[in-house]
């Protein structure tokens, strides 16, 4: 279980990278991507996925 970033919507602001408790988000090439291996959907750490909670664009950090 992991989230992914919809690249066409992403503003490349980096807020999600900053908030991810598991360092699962990295800037690669020209976009932010989520490493599905590391993403836990924030289970047990927060009520809701942090990336989706901070992302300024609706429906951009979504279940993979």
């Amino acid at each position: 279980m992991a989230l992914k970033i919809v690249k066409s919507q992403c503003t490349v602001c980096g807020a999600c990278e900053f908030e991810c408790p598991n360092a699962a988000i990295k800037f690669k090439g020209d976009a932010y991507i989520i490493d599905a291996e590391k993403c836990t959907e924030c289970e047990g750490q927060f009520d809701a996925p942090q990336c989706a909670a901070v992302c300024p664009v609706p429906n951009t950090c979504v279940p993979a």
Binding site: V12, C13, F18, E19, A53, V54, P56
Partner: protein, 492 residues
């Protein structure tokens, strides 16, 4: 011209004149005397030392010094209804234009290049898009790099305040002596219509809860910064129908907590920007509405009226943007700094300011005798003088003269109607609209056609006072009106 007024030619010293001319050619500041009308006389020395070279804080400095912004901190922790971060932060920067996004290293290189070729540079700011305090790692890395190479450049940052209390110690340690906090409401009932959500303490929060937390953190930031001796400017975006009546409360609240300046800016809203307000048809205020709220707040925290809402990657004197000259691909390989040029420029400014203050004081004394309030639209490119062609003007500096003296009260934008070399009716209509309540235009030159159109609308354009200090010219006009009713300043 009346004998009591000092003509500008009598004030000029040869070497300064050369410098002034060189500046005028370079474009210079296109703004008038503005904002907090305080000068050295009515400010404590410590505060004056901090603001005197900062174009955003002192109405005076604003004529002579340049600031630059770099967009290095794109992440934000709240959502404002007037901002669409796909483009730019609509608050600190003009919306709809995407800023060049820079890494801290690139930003530092850019600052170095600008400092080497723009001796007026005195301030580096980090503002939107994004929040400089939330995206702190990038903000701090940029400031660290710049202060290492250019210790004489002042640093400042703008924030929505939510993350600010976490960084107060570092702000003080890094010698950042100016911080801007944007506060649009202190009543959460009103705030909830401006901020749909905030991200705080691991959670997205909405409604009254979000607006309350944000308000509390903003006021806390202000108090903490004030206690540590950091100057705080508060920005408020005037949103008609939402916070227009409320801003006077904001003004009182921020003044009580020691804000140094309060800057009320008009909402910029257009459906094309894709902001919530743009899409819902929320309109921005008219020039007259803005002035009304600013006037209602006068007497509270010092009001700033010269803010141009420049873009986050703006470079130059207020009202001028040379950002395009300094994009990354245009930066030279090797950048040599020019500290001496900045020092020489600062010396020149010190002299120039003294003279302008003397001329203004004299002019004010003259005006005090005439009484009733009159508005003037001034065309200037800086140095406090009437030195711009009417056809070149993109914004008018509005001055008010009455028994209390002569003050800058705001600027009004009107697009250059002279694009392409011939008058464009639509643009002239726009100028007539923004100058609706202004009887006089002061400019260095104006063509016969535009002059006639202004006259038909009851606006008298005067170009006989070119190069005079603004205050001196206004006093001359008023004097000629009282001395010889019915005659213009030109023929007087």
């Amino acid at each position: 011209m009346s004998a009591t007024l000092i003509p500008i030619s009598g004030l000029q010293v040869a070497s300064r004149k050369d410098m002034g001319e060189a500046m005028a050619k370079g474009g210079g500041c296109s703004s008038g005397s503005c904002g907090s009308s305080q000068g050295p006389a009515d400010m404590d020395p410590e505060t004056w030392a901090k603001v005197k070279d900062h174009p955003c804080y002192s109405e005076e400095a604003h004529h002579y010094f340049a600031r630059m912004h770099v967009a290095v901190a794109p992440a934000c922790n709240i959502q404002c209804n007037y901002c669409n971060r796909k483009y730019d932060c609509a608050n600190e920067s003009r919306p709809g234009v995407v800023s060049e996004r820079l890494t801290p290293e690139q930003a530092a290189r850019k600052v170095l290049a600008v400092a080497a070729s723009v001796p007026q540079l005195s301030v580096l700011g980090i503002a939107g898009p994004g929040d400089a305090a939330y995206d702190w790692r990038r903000t701090k890395a940029t400031f660290d790099l710049v202060s290492k190479d250019l210790p004489d450049i002042k640093l400042c940052l703008s924030s929505n305040g939510l993350a600010l209390p976490d960084h107060i110690d570092e702000i003080v340690a890094m010698n950042i002596d100016h911080v801007t906090i944007t506060i649009n409401a202190i009543d959460p009932e009103i705030g909830q219509h401006i901020y749909p959500w905030i991200f705080y303490d691991g959670k997205r929060r909405t409604g009254i809860e979000a607006a309350t937390i944000l308000r509390d953190r903003q006021l806390l930031s202000l108090e903490m910064l004030k206690a540590r001796g950091v100057l705080v400017k508060v920005n408020s975006v005037l949103i008609p129908g939402i916070n227009d009546d409320h801003l006077i409360e904001v003004n009182k609240a921020v003044k009580a907590r020691g804000a140094f300046l309060h800057n009320i800016m008009p909402l910029i809203s257009d459906p094309a920007h894709g902001t919530h307000f743009g899409l819902t048809g929320q309109r921005g205020p008219t020039g007259a509405e803005l002035k009304k709220v600013q006037d209602a707040c006068a007497g509270g925290a010092n009001l700033m009226r010269h803010c141009r809402q420049c873009r986050a990657d703006a470079v130059g004197l207020l009202g001028e943007d040379r950002g395009q000259d300094f994009t990354l691909d245009k930066l030279p390989e090797v950048i040599a700094d020019a500290t001496e040029a900045r020092t020489a420029y600062r010396d020149w400014v010190a002299d120039e300011r003294r003279d302008r203050a003397a001329a203004a004081a004299q002019a004010e004394a003259t005006v005090a005798e005439t009484g009733k309030s009159t508005l003037f639209a001034v065309c200037t490119r800086g140095s406090g003088r009437i030195n711009m062609h009417f056809g070149k003007v993109t914004e008018f500096q509005i001055y008010e003269a009455d028994a209390e003296g002569i003050r800058f009260v705001g600027h009004r934008r009107a697009d250059n109607y002279c694009l392409g070399g011939h008058g464009d009716k639509a643009r002239m209509d726009e100028i007539l609209r923004v100058l609706e309540d202004v009887p006089y235009v002061l400019c260095s030159k104006i063509g016969a056609g535009p002059k006639k159109r202004l006259a038909e609308a009851g606006i008298e354009a005067i170009d006989g006072l070119a190069q005079d200090y603004i205050e001196t010219a206004i006093a001359a006009v008023l004097h000629s009106k009282t001395a010889h009713p019915g005659r213009t300043a030109e023929s007087a």
